[in-house]
């Protein structure tokens, strides 16, 4: 495979994805759309928290929940961005078959399609964080933020999520289009095992190992530690590990999940080609 083909596949897919995501309306409505959805998602948790705590936002639990939820937006956005491209191209625009015969690299094309969701997801994360800092007393001291750790973790996590999206894209190739979104459904399931909005210690003991096996658990922990280290370290789940150790675990699990994702995609891709599923439409 020539590097130029790889880069071209990724670049053009990213641009195409961005146009599909953003040009359905005028910029104002797009901005409103980008703000309302994430803020509402965060507000559900804020209301739940405030009902029970009586509006005490100074408790360490609040920034734990809020930041975990804010960064978790990436999980749904990136995984869905990559996997939904299969349904969109195959069943909506009916162009997936042409993509397959074009001189492009399909996995990189699908990963490129996820870039648009990463961009809109980043806007959502930024807005959610800004709302938390401005209106909900989420205390982030920017002078004390470990920016190196933050960006290394963020980039590593996004790559890991994109590869998980590729795994789901492979699965999507082999299944029919039902009402749901595989990426969002999987993100919903991971929500429980990643310590996103509650510490893993709240889970029954027999379920916790699943959480310890998920790279998203370490990813979210490191993001919290890089932003509000003194608060995040209060929770006992990963208190015995240093930042570097957690980063090592995150890297190892990302490589493992990445390798599995690529293998699953290749396997499903071969099945889809063999069974003629590349141009199948399922309109129940």
């Amino acid at each position: 495979m020539q590097p130029t083909i790889s880069w071209r596949s990724f670049r053009m897919a990213a641009w195409l994805g961005w146009l599909i995501e953003s040009n359905w309306t005028d910029p104002f409505l797009f901005a409103v759309y980008s703000i309302v959805k994430p803020i509402s998602g965060a507000a559900i948790l804020v209301v739940m928290y405030s009902i029970i705590s009586g509006g005490n936002f100074d408790n360490a639990m609040f920034p734990y929940i809020y930041l975990g939820n804010a960064f978790y937006i990436y999980v749904g956005a990136v995984m869905t961005g990559v996997s939904w491209a299969v349904v969109d191209d195959r069943e909506h625009y009916k162009t997936l078959k042409y993509m397959y015969i074009a001189p492009i690299h399909i996995p990189l094309y699908l990963l490129g399609r996820g870039v648009a969701r990463f961009v809109t997801g980043s806007i959502a994360v930024f807005i959610t964080l800004a709302a938390g800092i401005l209106f909900l007393n989420v205390k982030i001291n920017f002078a004390e933020v470990d920016w190196l750790l933050f960006f290394v973790t963020l980039i590593l996590g996004v790559v890991m999520l994109a590869l998980l999206g590729l795994l789901l894209a492979g699965v999507t190739l082999t299944v029919a289009r039902h009402e749901g979104f595989i990426g969002e459904a999987t993100a919903g399931a991971l929500y429980i095992f990643s310590g996103a909005i509650f510490p893993l210690d709240v889970l029954p003991e027999w379920l916790r190992p699943i959480g310890y096996f998920m790279p998203t658990t370490y990813w979210l922990e490191l993001l919290r530690r890089s932003l509000i280290g003194n608060v995040a370290e209060i929770f006992p789940t990963l208190a015995g590990f240093s930042n570097l150790e957690i980063l090592g675990v995150l890297f190892g699990l990302s490589v493992l999940f990445g390798a599995v994702s690529i293998w699953v995609f290749r396997y499903c891709d071969a099945i889809a080609r063999e069974r003629g599923l590349i141009d199948r439409t399922t309109n129940y």
Binding site: S40, H178, E179, A185, T282, Y284
Partner: protein
Amino acid sequence: MEAVSRKYSHKNTGWRLFLATIFARAYPRIVGQQREISWLVFDLIMPMLGVTAYVFVYRALNAPEEYVGFVVMGGAMTAFWMNILWSMSSQLYWEKEQGNLALYIMAPNSMMAILLGMALGGMLATALRALVVTLFGIFIFGVTYTVSSYLQLFLVFMLAMIALYGMGMMMASAFLLFGREAWHMANLAQEPVFLASGFYFPIKSLPFWVAAGASIIPLTLGMDAMRQLVFPSGFQFGFLDVNIEIGILLVLSISFVTIAKFLLAYIEKIAVREGRVTESRR
């Protein structure tokens, strides 16, 4: 003449055609789900785990056990909202993109019957999802239900469903006029509605006028009334009296179904007259 007098040449009209249309549109959806059961994983099990996360948030906050019940009920009811959003409202737009909408409008059947068929066809997955979440709540989280009035509970549920599916039909018409925006509008109607309608907390916790405004969505009052009727302490968290909520749901049911009928007739009219609604614009 001989051909039209044969067994299969008769034409259904009136209510027979209405029922036949409902069945015809529900059939592929039901059969399709049987032919490939991957939806069980992605539409049933995984969203259930998402609901479970909210239960653990309440557990982490040491909330009273009633709240676990509220989340489970809200989680079960999301299935119905998702059904009208993705399998009814935006489905008509998807049908347009696939080229089926023009056939629906050309055929001598009612569009309402088509939408009801979609709803009925999707009801298998929807009802199963709601049931599984409810049973999950009972057996895993120990949620207990103590029904204070079965009659009121039945009335509330049925009226909420009629109003909700009436709303779904209205939205389907509106979504057709949106074009490509339909998909995004459906996407946008998830979290904000989960928030405003109190899917995971009592609606009474929101400011009065916010809760009153959100009552336009039938599930808001439907869930509030059901929570009051099935949880012993539910009345403490009720937004309005159950009888008042039943009255409002009745008004919503009649209004939404009537408006939906007019809107669908309007869509059909402009589709025939202008030929634009059925045109796929990508």
